[in-house]
Amino acid sequence: MNESKEKAIEAKDAEPKDKKVHVTVLYTATAKDKKFNAALDSVFKGVVGEAYDKLGETPRNGDQLFCHEEPRHDMSGYFGMTLEEMLKKNICVREVHGKLELEFDVDSDIGGAAE
């Protein structure tokens, strides 16, 4: 077997065996969470929509999305990306023991003021 074929096999072995992404969403104001699976080629915006449905919540102006892992990272710039692209760019989607995981928070709008 030539070197390039060996490398290709190694790379394939290194890929996650489970191609679906295990999603966990947390609605932080109520501490309710939901888990579901999404395809790796799903667009993040669609995953967020499904997350709201599973939670039984309605998206509201002022809601903010963050990667659950601290320090939390704002996810609002990634709606158009697929989960696969997020995985490659190391944005919240990660491989844990051969399993792909995405864990994010929905922070609902809260009032407050400096005055």
Partner: protein, 169 residues
């Protein structure tokens, strides 16, 4: 907007007790490192840490006499006395400058507010509703939906964000 009224003590105490049984919040409290205790059926004490600051441990006193119809009052207190005296206890107050949670050492409450003068200004705290603030429909406290955990999370969120500016002086 009408000012909130206290809730029957028995009802309020039952709601506080119930909060301690909500598994979702028990799990989150453990994850977030909140240490909760009660010094009275209507008073919950919470120790909470801020992010990335060595001096970032605080004690918060939640007074629940208006709960669950309204949010608890939240006040940063001296951990030794569990009280707040403006001036001498300022350094026990986290400086939070988030648009959803802002601390004031001495707020000019009109009319006077029984838990003043400190204000943790957030629609998840009682003081917000005694300080002429007007939440949007989405921001307002919803009894039965929001609970003590919602109040704690609003403060925790600010403490773990860039809006945490260290201690007041």
């Amino acid at each position: 907007m009408n000012l909130p009224s206290p809730v029957n003590d028995v009802v309020a105490a039952a709601a506080v007790r119930h909060f301690f049984t909500v598994e979702d919040w028990v799990r989150r409290a453990s994850e977030y490192g909140w240490v909760l205790s009660m010094i009275d059926p209507l008073v919950v004490i919470v120790e909470m840490r801020a992010a990335n600051h060595d001096d970032g441990e605080y004690t918060i006193r939640l007074s629940c006499g208006y709960y669950p119809t309204h949010p608890p009052d939240a006040m940063f207190v001296n951990p030794a006395t569990l009280q707040y005296n403006y001036g001498e206890d300022n350094r026990h107050v986290a400086k939070l400058e988030a648009p959803y949670c802002h601390t004031h050492l001495s707020y000019n409450f009109q009319p006077p507010y029984e838990f003043g003068p400190q204000l943790v200004c957030s629609s998840m705290t009682l003081g917000y509703y005694f300080s002429n603030h007007t939440p949007t429909e989405d921001q307002v406290w919803r009894p039965g939906y929001h609970d003590i955990g919602s109040t704690l999370y609003a403060i925790h969120r600010a403490m773990r964000s860039l809006h945490y500016k260290g201690r007041h002086v």
